[in-house]
Symmetry: C2
Subunit: 502 residues, 2 copies
């Protein structure tokens, strides 16, 4: 049967991709420096074999046969229809790009990345400008190859690869009120009469002791170490091959215990999603996350709605004291809660707090949308960047190194990716309001260290569906409403205003 043959071929291709995932994890976490050159050959070989399989014309034939089969497609809500929808999307995207464009893009990206590194080091945008121009041009050609529907725009064609079905216009409809009201909130907080306690952040904890403690928090969240592991990498990430083997990483610094904790909760949130996918769907679209934005909703939920909540700290603080002794004797749960919720507008995205983080994303979304439509040229990027940081966050960007050169994404011609970070925050807030409706005693459970209701709810309502629903549909299905800025704003207002006395 065509459907079975199609699934077998897709599983075969995804099996190779899962091997690439191990090679990549190993490179980040285990491989000695001397292995780099050989590893790049291994990765290229596996990527090439996977690409061959995903673009095999036989997949196109089988897809067409299945799509013509009423039994498979008559109910668009069926599992088979969802599988075919996602396979069609993937196949079209894999086959629409001409091979010479793929090669040119890969070559240009790699050189552009090098020039970006240099430009950033020297804070000299002009060194990157010609390569950003090339990357913009390439991304626009890629977008053209993918194509977009009437009323859509080039940026949409790129973002479709990260957030299926989501369009710039919809995002704008949510981001605009978010931006305006966040701008007010941040201005209020920074001029408020009170400052949260930061005592908790000032206590150094030896790295070795953090390493023993932090996995216990992941375990408390329900991360299953029989089906996963935790390691160290420069940039924390979540990876793995199937629900039985999920790998998260974190990082440690003596003077940044809170960072290790939040990074771990963030990645374990991703990890719970991966462990919560159904093993019988491994290698099919139902066995993977719905989108990057939904994935990020899971990490941000645990990082922000658990790890930055007062009830969590009421449970966690005594454990911190037990683990690290007298240094934390005088630190209360309220101290820790305040410390991890300070808000300070700054230039650097990856160091931003829960409120200002979204502003960093919205600046990038607005700018890359303009670059993709041709309304903004590379040469004007620094000015436009700095103007928005002043307007939205009230900060003067001192130079391009901490300004428009800070992120690697555009050096790799990745346009359309940034919004998934804020979409994750928005989904998380909207899901969490629903969870509190369904489990009214949730915060009391947190205060007892019982995080199981939250995990079960996510398993049942999000994880087990994998990629069956497009993100916007999943949001409607789960919360009964379209995505909105309101839940996130309510969450931030309620939490942050009291801490700043406004």
């Amino acid at each position: 049967m065509s459907y079975d043959e199609l699934l077998a071929k897709i599983k075969d291709a995804n099996l190779l991709r899962s091997t690439a995932s191990i090679l990549s994890w190993d490179q980040e976490c285990m491989m000695p420096p001397g292995g780099v050159e050989h590893r790049s050959l291994q990765m290229a070989q596996i990527a090439g074999l996977a690409h061959q399989r995903f673009t095999d014309p036989r997949i196109g034939e089988l897809l067409a046969e299945c799509e013509a089969d009423d039994e498979l497609t008559s109910d668009p809500a069926s599992e088979q229809a969802a599988v075919l929808r996602e396979l069609r999307r993937g196949y079209d995207r894999s086959t629409k790009l001409p091979a010479d464009l793929v090669q040119e893009a890969a070559r240009t990206r790699s050189i552009a990345h090098h020039h970006w590194q240099q430009a950033r080091e020297e804070s000299d945008f002009d060194k990157f400008r010609p390569w950003l121009e090339k990357n913009i041009d390439l991304a626009r050609r890629v977008a053209e190859a993918y194509g977009w529907a009437d009323g859509e725009e080039p940026w949409d064609a790129l973002a479709e690869g990260y957030e299926p079905g989501m369009r710039a216009r919809q995002i704008e409809g949510v981001f605009t009120p978010l931006r305006d009201r966040l701008q007010n909130l941040i201005a209020d907080l920074t001029s408020g009469p009170r400052r949260p306690s930061t005592r908790f952040l000032e206590i150094a904890v030896p790295t070795g002791e953090q390493r023993a403690f932090v996995p216990q928090i992941a375990e408390q969240m329900g991360f299953d170490f029989e089906r996963g592991r935790i390691d160290i990498s420069v940039h924390p990430f979540c990876s793995g091959t199937n629900p039985g083997d999920v790998r998260i990483t974190t990082r440690f610094r003596d003077d940044a215990f809170a960072d290790a904790l939040t990074a771990t909760m963030h990645e374990a949130g991703h990890g719970l999603y991966e462990q919560g996918l159904l093993p019988e769907h491994t290698g099919t679209p139902l066995g993977r996350a719905a989108s990057l934005g939904i994935h990020e909703s899971q990490s941000r939920m645990w990082e922000n709605f658990v790890g930055r909540s007062l009830p969590f700290w009421e449970w966690c603080m005594p454990r911190v004291r037990d683990a690290f002794g007298s240094a934390f004797d005088d630190v209360t749960p309220q101290d820790a809660y305040e410390a991890v919720n300070t808000v300070s507008p700054d230039f650097i995205r990856v160091e931003a707090d829960e409120a200002t983080y979204n502003m960093h994303i919205m600046v990038r979304f607005e700018l890359e949308r303009l670059m993709m439509s041709g309304e903004l040229v590379a040469a004007d990027l620094p000015d436009e960047w700095n103007r928005r940081y002043k307007e939205y966050l009230g900060v003067d960007v001192p130079n391009d190194r901490v300004g428009c050169l800070q992120d690697t994404h555009w050096s790799g011609a990745s346009f359309g990716y940034f919004p998934t970070y804020t979409l994750g925050n928005l989904y998380a807030a909207q899901f969490f309001e629903k969870i509190l409706e369904d489990v009214p005693g949730l915060h009391e459970e947190f205060a007892r260290g019982d995080l199981s209701s939250l995990k079960s709810w996510l398993n049942e309502n999000i994880h087990k569906h994998g990629g069956r629903y497009q993100p916007a549909d999943l949001c409607e299905r789960v919360t009964g409403k379209a995505l909105s800025a309101d839940p996130l704003l309510r969450h931030l207002e309620r939490k942050l205003r009291p801490l700043y006395g406004v």
Copy 2:
């Protein structure tokens, strides 16, 4: 050019094999238990792709073209001629086995292994006997498919896969005098008037402290941690993908510090060989070890000729005292030297000492040769096994669990492998005599902790050649003599007789 195309195809196939090596290392050292099922799919996929490539008929065509090209083959000592010799050997062996035999063997092996485990647990040979019969039959059919020359025998066809060019008759010529003289030596030692000190072995060292110390010894040997790493596994091994990424493992037990140390030196000896191969030959026969026996000569050289030497302990003992404090205050280098050189005939191969170990191997060599020629049937194995243990080692085997059921090899139909262990000891001894000729002050260097002359000699005379020479040719080339039992016997006699006062 055919030769270049051939090499490119072989490198491509070996690149896949190196990915399989990472998957396998990861499974042993890193993978969580939940990953087993998916990993077996990944391994099967990569193995299948590699097999396809190694048996590609185009390789046969290219080989034939190259072999007909005088420029490539007129000088049999040239690199190209060596490459072609090894590729021909590999291609013939990969393509001579009918697919149904390969499948039947894999199926039978996996069931036989299961029955062997049960039989061993219950010490009930009869439970394994029918499966051993099947494995013998299969191995004989495999040998027939490979074929053997006039004057050779079925066992040779199997051993060729592990020790190219080595034949049972040659091995017998070396093993027989070794066995006879070892038998005398062991009898003399066990009845000698003196017993070596074992104080060193009786001191417990916390695992955590061993883990900090042991890698320093590997580093002292010259193992390069920029191009390698050391981890923990149940059975120590050496693995990796290329000279830039070599991975060894060891194991730790509080009451077995000496075991961790010798296991580490053994595996680091393998690791130095892999790190000493020339990177420009990666993926070709010149970029891999000459044979399992030669590989084992490297591990045994470091384990026995360094790690069980008095000069080494003169350097090492003060370091042990520095690392572990007062427990070792009264232990002298001589104590350690004696402790790691005790000889005690016993039933279990993997726990055997440097002298009796070879007896265990020779019993197995004799028996599997008879099973392959049809002169010994499975039902008679236990009696023949026990008779030889009594005769060669003077021990009464109490049951089949610690007798003929102790090793896994025959349950996997691996016949022809065992002798490489003793061949390794023989090569090591013969190489070491030559090294002492070339570097007369070697032991004085050891006593200063300077192991660099030994490493350089091995790099230059063994490692850099990779698989260019067949093991017997390498031995002749390096030592000027054919392989002989004399150097190993001289080494053991000189070292052990004084310790036992005989």
